[in-house]
């Protein structure tokens, strides 16, 4: 009986617009606040964390992940998913590594981008055009493409042309090229979502695909384009990765990337079912993961504790998302 009373009491509490505003604000601020709090925590434990060099280092470390996460987030907003991004990264890395010698750098880069886009296109056709389950299709291509990469390169490919490797270490206007590429992808993603008509259409697909079709949206074309775009940017990320490590190990390159991307995107507040989201929040999600990894290494925290901390952050983010959903 007491419970009922309490529930009644709670239910009776008026949810004024002011209360709602405060709640929305606090949930919206949770990620930036978490980043700020973590930054302070790491700074107190490892002062080098707050140096410009270290932040540039973080930006380079998350650059490939970010480059994949932005189109991946748009895909998820549309209610789709691509679990094959890690394998596609490996395949693109291997293709680039194998083609530098016969095709030269421009040819290898173009071929790599074409392969990434092609893989995305196949995923898109299967999912958006034939209506197959995105999870099953991309789980299949995850395995298929990893196998293909390993078949193409049973031995490690390494030692790429120096003119290509400059992408991995050269700086322009004080920032690494990789950081510039990452920022360009963020700007492009934000512009597409905020300025172009396709932005709201992507979200509309995630809210209700049937309704989107009925109001005249080109549901299939948008879906295919999103998958192809994701594949393209995975290829870009592959080029970024192999220019950093000067190697394209088919067996280990990109392993687990799909989970990291998914974690970052969910941290950024995009629900698994899609239908809403913000590119900027995804950027914060990726940055939070990068900061966590960097700070924990600087503090020399044992791996088990690192895993627990990262997991805890994700659970907290999920809890915030549930709270927000319930209130809305």
């Amino acid at each position: 009986m007491t419970d009922t009373g309490m529930t009644r009491g709670a239910a009776a509490a008026p949810e004024t617009p002011k209360n709602r505003d405060w709640f929305e604000l606090s949930v919206a601020a949770a990620l930036p606040v978490a980043i700020a709090a973590l930054a302070v925590f790491f700074y107190l434990n490892a002062p080098v964390f707050m140096t410009a060099n270290n932040w540039i280092s973080i930006s380079v470390q998350v650059s490939a992940l970010m480059t994949i996460s932005i189109p991946f987030a748009m895909l998820l907003m549309a209610g789709k998913i691509d679990l094959s991004v890690g394998s596609t990264l490996a395949l693109c890395g291997v293709v680039a590594g194998l083609s530098f010698e016969p095709l030269g750098i421009p040819g290898a880069v173009l071929l790599t981008l074409a392969v990434g886009t092609g893989v995305g296109l196949i995923n898109g056709l299967l999912v958006a055009s034939l209506g197959m389950s995105p999870i099953i299709v991309t789980l299949g291509t995850l395995t298929l493409i990893r196998g293909l990469a390993q078949w193409l390169a049973p031995n490690p490919i390494f030692g790429f042309p120096e003119e290509f490797l400059v992408i991995g270490y050269e700086r322009v206007l004080g920032l690494p090229i990789l950081t510039w590429i990452m920022m360009a992808v963020i700007a492009l993603g934000a512009a597409v979502m905020a300025l172009l008509p396709i932005g709201p259409q992507i979200v509309a697909l995630g809210v209700n695909q049937r309704a989107a079709f009925l109001v005249g949206l080109r549901v299939k074309a948008i879906g295919i384009a999103l998958y192809a775009g994701t594949g393209f940017f995975v290829a870009v990320a592959a080029l970024m990765s192999i220019s950093r490590i000067n190697s394209a190990p088919a067996g280990t390159l990109g392993v687990g990337v799909e989970l990291s991307v998914l974690t970052a995107v969910l941290l950024g507040g995009i629900p698994f079912a899609g239908g809403k989201g913000s590119v900027i929040r995804v950027v914060l999600g990726v940055w939070l993961l990068g900061m966590l990894a960097n700070g924990l290494i600087l503090m020399n925290v044992p791996t088990e504790l690192s895993l627990m901390t990262t997991g805890l952050v994700l659970v907290v983010a999920a809890a915030l998302d549930v709270l927000r959903s319930r209130r809305s």
């Binding site: 080098v48 490690p156 088919a250 990894a293």
Partner: protein
């Protein structure tokens, strides 16, 4: 459960011979293994040996497989079956082994991802007359062991780093050691390094998991931010050390004043050693001998001849012994 396993092993008559062989394992030479297996094909008998590695996607494992196949082809009476277990996926490994038991192969050589989970399969195989050998990891009651000594690997590369520090008058040296804590059987690769470093006044400022190039680069890059005066980086695998070497180059640190060492003797690691510079050593397994040992030790176990337990030697690959380095690199020439 453990008692039940022991009782079962005793009932199968396995334990006495197994322990006797295991006690002398360090004294077994490669020549002894080869000589015992050389007669396997006499009498026209043929054999099927199945081999499961937990990370078949790794390049060095593919080379080991190639050498196992080559040895089988040399002998002429052996077929080696390989599985597709990747990323330490226990379910994949169990499925493959179940298939081999159904096929009634003569011997199964397995790197046990989780020995406890494989015990029922081991019992089933042995009850069916299939010999059960482990590779790297050990299991009670096995019929053979294809090993290489992780402790020896760690000791070799650590000692090389200590020698380098002494020869170059590096005092109060600081080191980064990469680990792979989810795989405890590999722990001597880093625990031996940290032990030897502690004995020689080298401070390990960071121990972090990294086994591949990407993570080796990320970890080393970050640790170099905190410790720009880092002197030594030891990778638990060559791949991690190769990534760390890249971090040194990208960060602009002075590689000439640093020591990077790896373990395994992978092609990238050996090539980095051969190139000179900061990558000065790899504790290299003789992968040609290791591949051959998979076949030979399995044949010895099937034919109940000794030895069926042996370690494959690990050697120091460095510029100081160019001939050995060239020989190790030649193993990768297809």
């Amino acid at each position: 459960m453990k008692n039940m396993t022991r009782t079962f092993a005793l009932a199968m008559g396995l334990t006495v011979g197994t322990l006797a062989q295991a006690a002398d394992i360090n004294d077994v030479t490669t020549e002894q293994v080869r000589a015992a297996a050389a007669k396997a094909c006499e009498g026209g008998k043929t054999y099927k040996v199945a081999y499961s590695h937990s990370v078949s996607e790794v390049a060095i494992v593919k080379q080991v497989r190639r050498f196992a196949d080559a040895r089988a082809a040399d002998l002429g009476c052996v077929t080696v079956l390989h599985d597709n277990t990747q990323a330490n996926n226990l379910e994949q490994q169990i499925n493959a082994i179940q298939g081999w038991i159904t096929l009634d192969v003569d011997a199964i050589v397995v790197l046990p991802i989780e020995p406890t989970a494989l015990q029922p399969l081991k019992r089933q195989a042995q009850a069916q007359g299939i010999k059960w050998l482990t590779y790297l990891g050990k299991m009670d009651g096995s019929d053979g062991f294809v090993g290489f000594d992780h402790a020896q690997s760690g000791q070799i590369v650590a000692q090389a780093a200590v020698d380098w520090a002494k020869a170059n008058n590096v005092t109060d040296a600081k080191a980064l050691v990469t680990t792979l804590t989810p795989l405890p059987p590999l722990a001597p690769r880093w625990t031996e390094v940290t032990r030897i470093f502690a004995e020689n006044g080298i401070t390990v400022v960071a121990e972090q998991d990294a086994a591949d190039q990407t993570n080796g680069l990320r970890v080393a890059e970050t640790v170099l931010q905190q410790h720009p005066d880092l002197d030594i980086i030891i990778g638990m695998a060559d791949d991690a050390a190769v990534g760390a070497l890249r971090a040194i180059k990208l960060s602009g640190a002075n590689g000439d004043a640093m020591f990077v060492g790896g373990q395994d003797g992978s092609l990238e690691g050996l090539s980095a050693v051969n190139d000179g510079g900061a990558y000065r050593a790899s504790a290299a397994i003789l992968i040609n001998e290791l591949g051959a040992n998979i076949v030979d030790l399995a044949l010895n176990a099937v034919r109940d001849v000794e030895p069926s337990f042996a370690y494959t030697p690990t050697v120091l690959a460095s510029k100081a012994d160019q001939a050995l380095l060239d020989k190790l690199l030649a193993n990768y020439a297809n």
